[in-house]
């Protein structure tokens, strides 16, 4: 209890810090210089309508590459962590009760639709809200659905792994192409900017976002599969 009291006291201290921040905070009336630059120049610079996407994929592309790497890393480590505790023989795993017929059929029907939705979301990332991360998460949910209906389904680790790695590698290659062909690492102007507002526009942004979507989807899927393949408690 002393400990809880101490923690509360510390959090009060932290709260005081936060309160200090709030007191010192006044919402801007106008965009600051950075945001204003993006508002004025995104369309011309990158050809993307969704400014957040432009920032994510191009202006702050290095962050995003890092972010994708976080997921890659997490997926790899989750697999490493869990591989250490996994029994070698998959047959020894206790089979859970089979899912109902309705769920099984439903998911088989739904899965392709969900996959399609995911692809739509990341392919349009430069125009509308949404993008690679959201789309990737949607892709993964299809895998999740399949896992729920058939926990012992053997997923192509190899396929997931190849999609994950290949999209990541191409992402890096595109980044390097930016150094060689345009103004810097991950510059999206290696492809023509196209017509503002069209699906195939905004230079490399749709390509990159598609890669991100595939990669993120594969990574989430890989995490889920790793987790689902751990042994049950004995």
């Amino acid at each position: 209890m002393i400990r809880t009291f101490f923690v509360v006291l510390l959090l009060l201290g932290l709260g005081a810090v936060f309160a200090g921040l709030m007191v010192g905070y006044t919402p801007d009336a106008e965009l600051n210089a950075t945001a204003r630059y993006y508002a004025d120049n995104t369309a011309a610079d990158t050809g993307a309508a969704n400014i957040v996407t432009a920032i994510i994929v191009t202006y702050r592309g290095l962050d995003t590459l890092g972010e994708v790497t976080v997921l890659f890393l997490t997926a790899a480590i989750v697999a490493l962590v869990l591989a250490a505790g996994r029994e070698k023989d998959p047959a020894s795993r206790i089979a859970p009760p089979p899912a109902g017929e309705l769920l099984t059929t439903g998911s088989r029907l739904l899965a392709p639709l969900i996959l399609l939705l995911g692809v739509y979301v990341f392919a349009n990332g430069h125009l509308t809200p949404g993008g690679g991360f959201q789309g990737g998460a949607i892709l993964a949910s299809a895998v999740l659905l399949l896992l729920l209906t058939d926990p012992l389904r053997h997923f192509g680790h190899r396929l997931i792994s190849v999609v994950e790695s290949l999209s990541g590698f191409i992402y890096v290659l595109i980044g390097v192409a930016g150094v060689v062909l345009a103004g810097g690492f991950l510059d999206n102007r290696i492809l023509p900017l196209g017509d503002f507002g069209a699906l195939l526009s905004a230079g490399a942004i749709p390509v990159i976002y598609t890669l991100i979507g595939l990669k993120v989807g594969a990574e989430f899927a890989s995490m889920l599969v790793s987790l689902s393949e751990t042994e049950e408690p004995r």
């Binding site: 969704n50 957040v52 996407t53 979301v121 809200p129 949404g130 993008g131 991360f133 959201q134 998460a137 949607i138 993964a140 949910s141 999740l144 989430f220 995490m223 889920l224 987790l227 689902s228 751990t230 049950e232 408690p233």
Partner: protein
């Protein structure tokens, strides 16, 4: 319009804080996980009010959706294994 959004925001804020308190106080772990997911979901709605649709989508899909599933996956593996509750 502004008033409506402010009232909505207030309600959402109260609800999410309430859900957060539930999440850390409730004895049952599944309920805690769901409450945390709810916090995330309510935050996603707040993001829409805050003119951040991209973030809202991500928070809903990843923060409340995928994370919650991950929790349940793990919970299913450790249930009955020496949880002190």
């Amino acid at each position: 319009m502004t008033l409506v959004t402010t009232v909505m925001g207030l309600l959402l804020a109260l609800a999410s804080v309430g859900a957060a308190v539930v999440a850390i106080r409730v004895r049952s772990l599944p309920v805690a996980i769901l409450a945390a997911g709810l916090v995330s979901l309510l935050a996603a709605v707040l993001f829409v009010l805050l003119a951040a649709p991209d973030v809202a989508m991500t928070e809903a899909a990843i923060g409340s959706g995928l994370t919650t599933f991950l929790f349940f996956f793990v919970l299913g593996r450790v249930r009955g294994g020496g949880d002190h509750d």
